[in-house]
């Protein structure tokens, strides 16, 4: 039998889901009590609904996960943040970066902001150029030069020499990379060796500007500062290093014999050879200091002098350690570092001094004894440790202990070898003296008889220098202007936002399709 009550039948579906109104619900319940057909249909609907709910999930197709990972990786790669790399995403680790919107860069707002940013960037950069350009103009002394060309030029030359001297000192400090830091610091000053009392360098000063630069560089003795205006020649007595002998070789030889005996007592031939090597090092180390020279020359033809200095190096069994050409403005400076056999240092320096006008000359002592004794002390300790270990190995009974001790011994042996290598290095360093020569082209050559034309030429050269270095200054300008740029940027963004708020028309609310609704 079939029920023709379509009204009730239309409600059955809602009734199953319990979304009927109270009246509809009662109507349905009232009807199904008497109508078997509708009761049947309701039961069937209920069966369908529960069956549909209980349908099992389908298995994922093959390659689904791989495809998804590839797409996710592509998504991450397309993402603006490079820190979430493709590999990270593909392996499932790494940070999850949630982009705001896929097509953010297409929005008008972004284009507007980008344009603003670009505009204020260019404005600030151009401003920066003008600013630094002017700074450079003043710095170079070009401005003063129009008032008093010679005076200004002298000043700039003096500044340059300061840097040259500073360079030289820096280099002095860096000659011995093997030295401990304390040594380098102690010996880095030009006049620092006089503090030791072992060596006082001849210090020739014939240029008041050079003297000034010494003081500026913070290394000049205050006594020298008093002489600054006199432009006098300061010559200090040169005493060859006689002082620091008192605590050198005896100490070592006292230390050595008991060591040697112990080594012999172990009947360890390997150790014996090491001890012999080390003895040789100790004997050679009677003089554990090295003298390094510094010389500043002013000459017209810097390259010719460079050649001559190089030839000096080869004549005194040495070599050129460094050769650098520093071109500053329209001037060429050469920094040379040559190494000569330490016994030839004075002769070599005298010879170099003849090549040009000497503006600075110094000899400083680099004391290697501290590094040497440090190594010695460590060697003694390590040897003692080695002995006690050997003794313990001899006394040890079980294999486990012996193995542990032998491992310990191995470490000590390696340490001893390192120290011996260090000692050898020190003795090697001692054999060569380094002379750093700074050769500056003579800016004042013929300046005494400078005509108006020469002065003009000089001014023009300076101007050319300014032009040449202009690209560099542009870059510097970029750097300086960055902060200003940041401020301008923030202000511009604020301005933009305010304008955006003010000018925005009430937009029609068009809900976006394809977007997950909230």
């Amino acid at each position: 039998m079939s029920c023709g009550n379509d009204e009730i039948k239309a409600l059955l579906s809602s009734y199953v889901d319990d979304v009927c109104s109270e009246i509809e619900k009662q109507a349905v319940e009232h009807h199904i009590v008497q109508c078997a057909d509708c009761r049947q249909e309701l039961a069937e609907l209920e069966w369908i609904v529960t069956s549909l709910r209980e349908m099992s999930d389908l298995p994922l197709p093959t390659g689904f996960c791989e495809d998804f990972r590839a797409r996710l990786a592509a998504e991450l790669a397309a993402d603006k943040s490079p820190d979430t790399s493709v590999e990270k995403a593909a392996t499932g680790v790494g940070s999850l970066k949630i982009p705001r919107n896929k097509y953010w860069f297409q929005s008008r707002r972004f284009v507007g902001i980008a344009a603003t940013v670009l505009l204020c960037f260019s404005v600030s950069v151009i401003g920066g150029h003008i600013n630094t350009g002017y700074d450079h103009f003043v710095q170079n002394g070009l401005y003063q030069e129009t008032v008093d060309g010679e005076q200004a030029y002298r000043e700039s030359a003096a500044t340059k020499k300061t840097t040259a001297v500073a360079n030289g000192q820096q280099y002095d400090g860096g000659i011995f990379p093997g030295l401990s830091a304390s040594n380098v610091i102690r010996d880095d000053g030009i006049v620092s060796s006089s503090r030791d009392g072992s060596a006082v360098e001849p210090y020739i000063m014939d240029n008041p500007y050079e003297m000034k630069s010494q003081i500026i560089s913070g290394e000049g003795d205050s006594a020298f500062g008093g002489d600054a205006n006199q432009a006098s020649v300061v010559v200090s007595a040169f005493e060859s290093g006689t002082v620091s002998e008192e605590d050198s070789p005896e100490n070592v030889s006292v230390e050595m014999p008991p060591l040697k005996q112990e080594v012999r007592s172990t009947q360890n031939s390997q150790l014996q050879t090491k001890a012999a090597r080390q003895m040789a090092v100790a004997q050679n180390a009677s003089n554990r200091e090295v003298y390094n020279g510094y010389m500043a020359l002013v000459a017209e033809d810097v390259n010719a002098i460079r050649e001559q200095v190089v030839s000096v190096a080869s004549r005194y069994e040495g070599y050129v350690d460094e050769s650098a050409v520093i071109t500053e403005e329209n001037e060429e400076n050469i920094r040379l570092a040559i190494c000569v056999k330490s016994e030839h240092l004075d002769a070599a320096m005298d010879e170099i001094a003849d090549f040009g006008e000497v503006t600075a000359r110094s000899v400083n002592r680099v004391d290697l004894s501290e590094a040497y004794y440090d190594a010695q002390g460590r060697l003694t300790r390590q040897r003692a440790l080695e002995q006690s270990l050997l003794r313990l190995i001899a006394e040890a009974e079980d294999v486990e202990t012996i193995r542990a001790l032998e491992q310990e011994l191995e470490k000590v042996t390696v340490e001893i070898e390192t120290i011996i290598a260090n000692l050898e290095k020190i003795s090697q360093q001692r054999k060569y003296s380094t002379i750093v020569v700074n050769i500056a082209s003579d800016p004042m050559a013929g300046m005494e008889s400078a005509t108006l034309g020469d002065k003009f030429r000089l001014g023009f050269q300076s101007f050319l220098g300014f032009c040449k270095s202009f690209p560099d200054n542009l870059l510097v300008g970029f750097g300086f202007m960055f902060e200003i740029f940041a401020v301008v940027l923030i202000l511009s963004i604020l301005f933009y936002l305010v304008m955006h708020k003010l000018l925005r028309k009430p937009a029609a609310a068009v809900p976006r399709k394809n977007e997950p609704e909230k």
Binding site: A10, S14, L52, R71, S95
Partner: protein, 208 residues
């Protein structure tokens, strides 16, 4: 529905939001099969379903930050899935092009002829697969609009309100579509059973 509790799910979401890829992987692992299944039942095409499911997961990844937790995570995910399914159907030109009054899909008219001759007999089918999975082909017989409502209601377990919001249709339309779809399903199942009885009878006669 994934078995993990709501608190656990929210904790996972928070972790994933903070950049924990493992947490995101866990969310994906918990939902991907369901997403695929649902997409398959709406689209009735494995390739499209896989595509939509993957796209859904990508969308989840992309917009997880905007998930506020005012609905359950699965509801949120299903909304994305449904939207993408709608897009896919629109691309195919199937959605809203057919008469909304006719729940039967034209493309699946061949459903019954498919069962002819060499097809496994229904009794064997019952043995082979669960009775519930037997329903799969009847869902396929619905037109996409109806399929979507059924899947959303029955498999995603969304409320009438949620369905009406997601599909941008009135509550009444949701009710009527569900009503029609269920009626259709019931009728086709009954028809299928009749056919099956006939078949059995014929088979027995042939054998007998």
């Amino acid at each position: 529905m994934p078995s993990c509790g709501i608190e656990k799910e929210l904790a996972l979401v928070e972790k994933a939001k903070a950049g924990d890829m493992a947490a995101f992987e866990q969310i994906v692992g918990a939902h991907q099969q369901k997403i695929y299944t649902v997409a398959f039942r709406i689209l009735e095409n494995g390739e499209d379903a896989a595509d939509v499911a993957q796209e859904t997961l990508i969308r989840i990844y992309r917009s997880l930050a905007s998930f506020k937790g005012d609905s359950s995570l699965s509801t949120w995910i299903y909304r994305i899935t449904v939207n993408l399914c709608k897009d896919a159907l629109r691309k195919r030109g199937h959605l809203f092009t057919q008469s909304l009054d006719e729940p039967i899909s034209e493309e699946n008219e061949s459903l019954y002829p498919q069962l002819a001759d060499d097809a496994p007999l229904p009794e064997e089918q019952y043995e082979q697969q669960e009775l519930k999975d037997y329903l799969e082909k009847f869902i396929a017989g619905l037109s996409p609009d109806y399929r979507m409502v059924v899947v959303m209601r029955e498999q995603m377990e969304l409320s009438y309100e949620e369905i009406s919001q997601a599909l941008n249709i009135s509550l009444g339309t949701v009710k009527s579509r569900l009503n029609r779809a269920r009626k259709y399903l019931r009728e086709s199942i009954l028809k299928d059973r009749e056919q099956e009885c006939m078949r059995l009878r014929l088979k027995n006669e042939r054998r007998g």
